[in-house]
């Protein structure tokens, strides 16, 4: 379907943006979700305010002990950035799972987090990495943990007139292990079930601060509290994996969707959990 009639404005600074944001105005970043919803007439914004040329929302830096990723960072940029690969390798691994090259060339991290699709990779990564979102509004800024930012199905803690300016990720230490795995019908599709797994593995083989975060199986990213508790402090071995899989039952309440019933999603999550933890065990102990 053709898009509804709408207005278009480009803001070239935050000050211009604050002036433009009013009734019926909606922020346009990469457009890879928003413009698709226009085609379905799922949204009819009065005016799209293009933020892609606002310099304050760009750039990837390491400052104050965190990796700061500007909201306008495109998926493709995230995927090839050396600072990201070094300090938040989970993100580098996540990018190839997001849609397709042509979409990754335009879609942004800010748009992905703001839209909060429950099956999207980057919201789950933000939770798994314990990221902090920097939210900006006219006259101020606030910071909020990713875990508190995602409040429900396609809903976030963003208030009217507020935008995501950047995302801050803690720097990965040498003991961090991180991986992202998913099951999708076709390459590039949103996941039927996915897992962003982050933990620290000590020299003694013990797990610390596990943050297994599932996606595609709830209203938003699901931090697996029980499974994580089952892993904390344990040596990573087959028994630990089995314990985490058993504990996972209490973490998930997947809705039935067009992919299949809850039981199938639970099964996929158990399998993904096993694969992820297996990939962290020393190579000699790994089953192929």
């Amino acid at each position: 379907m053709k898009w509804p009639a709408l207005g278009y404005l480009r803001a070239s600074s935050l000050d211009e943006l604050w002036r433009a944001l009013g009734d019926g105005a909606q922020i346009l970043a990469g457009g890879q979700t928003l413009l698709a919803t226009l085609a379905f007439r799922l949204s009819e914004p009065g005016t799209l305010v293009d933020i892609t040329r606002i310099p304050e929302l760009r750039g990837i830096t390491v400052t104050g002990g965190v990796l700061r990723v500007g909201a306008l960072t495109r998926h493709a940029e995230l995927g090839r950035d050396a600072l990201v690969a070094r300090h938040a390798p989970l993100l580098t691994q996540a990018v190839p799972h997001i849609a397709h090259p042509a979409i990754r060339n335009r879609g942004t991290i800010g748009g992905s987090l703001a839209y909060a699709d429950p099956a999207a990779e980057l919201p789950a990564c933000a939770v798994a990495l314990n990221a902090t979102l920097v939210l900006a509004r006219a006259g101020g800024e606030r910071r909020i943990k990713a875990t508190e930012f995602f409040t429900g199905l396609l809903t976030t803690a963003l208030e009217p007139g507020e935008i995501i300016a950047a995302v801050e990720f803690p720097l990965a230490g040498p003991s961090q292990r991180a991986t992202i795995l998913e099951v999708a019908r076709r390459s590039g599709d949103y996941a039927m079930a996915g897992l962003a797994a982050v933990l620290d593995l000590g020299a003694d083989g013990r797990i610390a601060s596990p943050r297994l975060t599932f996606f595609g199986v709830g209203e938003g990213p699901v931090l697996a509290k029980n499974a994580n508790a089952a892993l904390e402090g344990r040596v990573l071995d087959a028994a630990a994996i089995a314990a985490a899989q058993a504990a996972l039952e209490g973490d998930l309440d997947p809705p039935a969707d067009l992919h299949g019933p809850p039981a199938m999603k639970r099964h996929l999550c158990r399998v993904l959990l096993g694969r992820a933890l297996q990939s962290f065990t020393p190579a000699t102990e790994q089953a192929a």
């Binding site: 413009l35 379905f40 335009r106």
Partner: protein
């Protein structure tokens, strides 16, 4: 609103409605009908074009947002000769049947030739995974891209570097 941009090397200035996406702009306003509109919501890839050197979904880009941009369509790509060898390989291997997907497919495949000269069949499939073809079953398309890559590898000196526009290579 008025926009001025470069399309296939030519500067054009036009009035566009904000609701116009790039593919309608190209097809209806500029008469460049090589880029196809299929699903118009980002799923099929028939609308793949280059904006500022990178492939995008033309149906998910507002023409109004492209003031100052540089757009290359299948027409421009063909005229430049950049993918003449790939296009010959498509014909030779029957990688185009009805042809609806072909312009987008060639735009996406050209991206592999430019940026991923070492792509194997799995990487080719992955890169083209966002471009649907309802006719060929993909095998012939992957064959055509793989054949073009290996032809170019033979004819391109190893030090030519990745991402170069190796127009003469593989001809």
């Amino acid at each position: 609103m008025m926009i001025t941009l470069t399309v296939n090397g030519e500067r054009v200035t036009r009035h566009v409605e904000p609701r116009r996406h790039l593919i309608d702009f190209l097809r209806l306003d500029l008469g460049l009908t090589g880029s196809h509109a299929g699903c118009e919501h980002g799923v099929c890839g028939a609308c793949t074009v280059r904006v500022d050197g990178e492939i995008v979904r033309g149906c998910l880009v507002l023409a109004a947002s492209l003031d100052g941009a540089e757009v290359t369509t299948i027409e421009g790509l063909t005229d430049s000769g950049e993918v003449a060898d790939l296009q010959e390989a498509f014909v030779a291997r029957n990688a185009a049947q009805c042809g609806f997907c072909t312009p987008g497919m060639v735009m996406a495949a050209a991206d592999i030739l430019r940026h991923h000269a070492d792509a194997d069949r799995a990487a080719i499939r992955e890169h083209l995974s966002g471009n649907y073809c309802r006719c060929t079953g993909y095998q012939a398309i992957v064959d055509a891209v793989a054949a073009t890559l290996s032809e170019r590898a033979i004819h391109t000196p190893a030090d030519a570097g990745r991402g170069d526009r190796t127009q003469e290579a593989g001809r």
